[in-house]
Symmetry: C2
Subunit: 151 residues, 2 copies
């Protein structure tokens, strides 16, 4: 694709985990809700686990759940968990035959782009999972895809 829907899947996943509290959620359930494959979800959840946002219990009755309360997890945390490359790349040049302007511009571009990325991350840092759930509003159903309601 080239286009990143990874963050969408990750936020969606984390949102579900937040809704379910300490109830473990299987990758199958999340996949059904997101509309993708369980393996795709597991790859994302793996990122969340690696950065300490989520935890996974294996075996029967297992699944993933958040390690922190929803209001202690920002979207920026989730973004960082994915470990994406920089938004904009500055192509590296050959060492020799380089234009002096070309050489001078590159560090400026780096600075510029990292500033832009910071700005974006700053925005994401201002929203946490609890906010997200609140934004979902009243129409949150009790079950994920009708499969489960609660114990």
């Amino acid at each position: 694709m080239g286009s990143n829907s990874r963050l969408a899947v990750a936020v969606h996943t984390a949102g579900i985990l937040a809704l379910r509290g300490r109830q473990p959620v299987t990758s199958d359930m999340v996949a059904t809700s997101v509309g993708t494959n369980p393996v795709v979800v597991r790859r994302i959840i793996g990122c969340l686990v690696k950065s300490g946002i989520a935890e996974v219990r294996k075996g029967s009755g297992g699944g993933a759940f958040l390690t922190r309360p929803a209001n202690a997890i920002t979207i920026a945390d989730i973004y960082a968990a994915l470990g994406e490359d920089e938004l904009f790349q500055v192509p590296s040049l050959g060492k020799e035959h380089e234009c002096p302007i070309g050489r001078a511009v590159r560090p400026i571009l780096h600075q510029l782009f990292s500033g832009a990325e910071e700005a974006m991350i700053g925005y994401l840092a201002g929203i946490n999972l609890e906010d997200l759930i609140k934004m979902l509003g009243e129409d949150i159903p009790d079950g994920i895809c009708g499969e489960i309601s609660d114990d």
Copy 2:
């Protein structure tokens, strides 16, 4: 690649045009400075022209030049000129078998992601080509890759 170095090329290109003022710059010259192919540069310049930032004169002695003073062109203008997709995509789901949460989450994600992109663009809008040139500092040489100095 998947990674966007297009913005880097575009900003680099626009920077050179800004440095050269009304002197037309050929795609060959820019390509040498950027370290890429003239065609790649022409594709980028085409975007700049389409959005009114630059103009192109064909034929001998021709090339591209900016239509506005450098301080009237922000990096956000250049970013917009490229016509990139949204930074983060929200995957579209099949219509039927959709989880109610899945359905509720998608518009929230859209809102979230466009907010993030706005934040980034806002940052880019705060920097114009004149700022960029100033950042280059004193070590701006007089020529692009030593080929030309001035008329």
